[in-house]
Chain length 336, copies 2
């Protein structure tokens, strides 16, 4: 049975919403959850549920991390913080995945330091599908790495391809660089330098795509630096939420409130994927890690735990390692 370590103390609604979501996940999804936090706190929450027959275990961790604390300091000084203890469970083979809605910087840093990255990858990348209108398109990086070199973008592409193959079931994903024009030579220095590297990579590279192509799904894996990606994701969420709200006014009196709510909520679901899934995977580390929004609630934790299970079962991490070796060989041969 897949074992998911859950940082019970991370997020705005910890521990009650985290534990509520974890209990549902165990009930519904056929998996084991290991809750990590101060044992008395965990137990005080768990008594609210009938968990006697459920695969829920608790591991003690009695330090907490506040928003704004420098991740490096947390890693050095708070070795008994719940996110760190939970991540170590994965490292030691006692869990298959870690989920946390704690401060993103700390979750990323602890995954990076404790789990490490496959050879050839410096830093993990945040990515996935963020737009329901183009479900077969993932964009990465979404904010992990704001200043990038061409080889970073290539690594994002490799990670993205493995994700698309394993989790979206796309055998030979198309890859594109996000730019300001489709033609070769259009773009900033980073894109122009990355283009030939992508051409030689053996990936199914289709060239540059533009901003609107994220919506139309012209490529399966769209690559950009984390600065552009993060701004895009947040703009998408903001625009979706604003249009959903505007629709309520615009349709008011013309449709029943139930219908208006349906349309508005459907649109939110299509544009605010993080609200639906509660976060996304941290890719490019030696283990399965999910980084959640701080505002996640029980439903999002349940969904994220289910997604982590799927990721574990997909064999994503091993595939990434073998794909990295293949691409490195291809690039090496291309140079000879």
């Amino acid at each position: 049975m897949v074992r998911i370590a859950v940082d019970a103390m991370g997020g705005d609604y910890a521990p009650n919403e985290v534990i509520k979501g974890a209990v549902s996940a165990v009930q519904e999804k056929g998996l084991e959850v290991i809750l990590v936090g101060p044992l008395p706190t965990l137990q005080a929450e768990l008594v609210k549920y009938d968990v006697s027959h459920l695969a829920i275990n608790c591991i003690n961790a009695d330090e907490s991390v506040k928003e704004g604390e420098p991740p490096a300091l947390v890693l050095r000084q708070k070795r008994n913080a719940s996110v760190i203890v939970a991540t170590k469970l994965v490292k030691n083979g006692e869990a298959d995945a870690i989920i946390s809605a704690g401060p993103t910087g700390t979750v990323v840093a602890s995954a990076l330091m404790i789990l490490g990255t496959p050879e050839g990858i410096d830093r993990p990348v945040i990515g996935g599908n963020f737009l329901g209108f183009s479900p077969n398109t993932i964009v990465l990086d979404n904010g992990g790495n704001v200043d990038c070199k061409p080889y970073h973008l290539l690594n994002f592409a490799i990670v993205g391809c493995v994700y698309a193959q394993k989790l979206l079931n796309i055998p030979n994903p198309t890859v594109a660089l996000l730019s300001v024009g489709a033609e070769e030579g259009k773009g900033n220095e980073l894109v122009k330098e990355s283009y030939p590297l992508f051409q030689r990579s053996g990936l199914n590279f289709i060239g540059n795509v533009e901003g609107n192509d994220i919506v139309t799904g012209r490529a399966n894996v769209i690559v950009c630096d984390g600065f552009v990606g993060n701004i895009l994701v947040k703009f998408c969420e903001g625009l979706g939420a604003t249009i959903a709200k505007w629709l309520k006014t615009s349709l008011s009196g013309k449709l029943s409130n139930t219908e208006i709510d349906r349309v508005s909520n459907d649109l939110l679901a299509l544009t605010n994927t993080a609200d639906i899934f509660g976060g996304g995977p941290l890719l490019g580390v030696n283990g399965v890690a999910m980084v959640m929004h701080g505002r996640s609630q029980a439903l999002q934790f349940t969904r994220a735990i289910a997604q982590a299970k799927t990721m574990v079962e997909s064999g994503l991490v091993n595939s990434l390692n073998s794909e990295l070796i293949r691409i490195r060989r291809q690039l090496h041969n291309g140079k000879d």
Copy 2:
């Protein structure tokens, strides 16, 4: 009377839609239009309208520019191209503004080379409001300058402030850097280096804003490089168009087709401003210039000509020059 030079040969629907739009602008807006193109072509179009009492003049220009021709080559070898002749009318004081839907690179290059830029500005910037949900927010650069230095971003901010003052009637516009977090220190190298420069500028700088803040209108002038800005604008247009189309399906059978079209078209108008205005101003050149989308039709030309008139009447260009001097003095004093 304000005189607008119109490149009659630029755009996918030139010259018929350009001239149709220009005739309407003269009829409705109280201005003079100077059409630039091969005289026989212009005259053959104009006979379709009763223009005997209208302030429409024609100037001959018998070379044409194709999409994809290198702008530098056009400027050297096609001195009688309609966009160049039209821009020279502004330079020589025979017109007050130039409008073209020709290839953007060529329109920008000819404005840059022929009109020049105010002292302290290297290159023009494309910018303006691109989202109807936040009408008091402009984002720039939208694609003119893909790789930027901090002083470029500062110039965009200055240009944007003058635009907000003169055209949006905002006396003391708030200015922000577009970034991946609101806190100082969040962002890529460019944003981090620009932050202290903005602080010392004497502009009404409120710090960093995130992608969703473009929608909420947290600042009047949001500054980013042209790579980020162009991707955002195109993503916005693409997402808006996709949601408008999705609404038609989602509301089908629940509202009358007229109502569905109204909601869908309202949303398009709020998210695809370039379709409404047909383009936007090229800012930071010594003259008023409007760069139109190639796909613009008569209605967009009429609106863009009207917008150019407003820009001329606002005294935007002179204000920009005096504001540049003021900010430069402020920065200089800040250093002493």
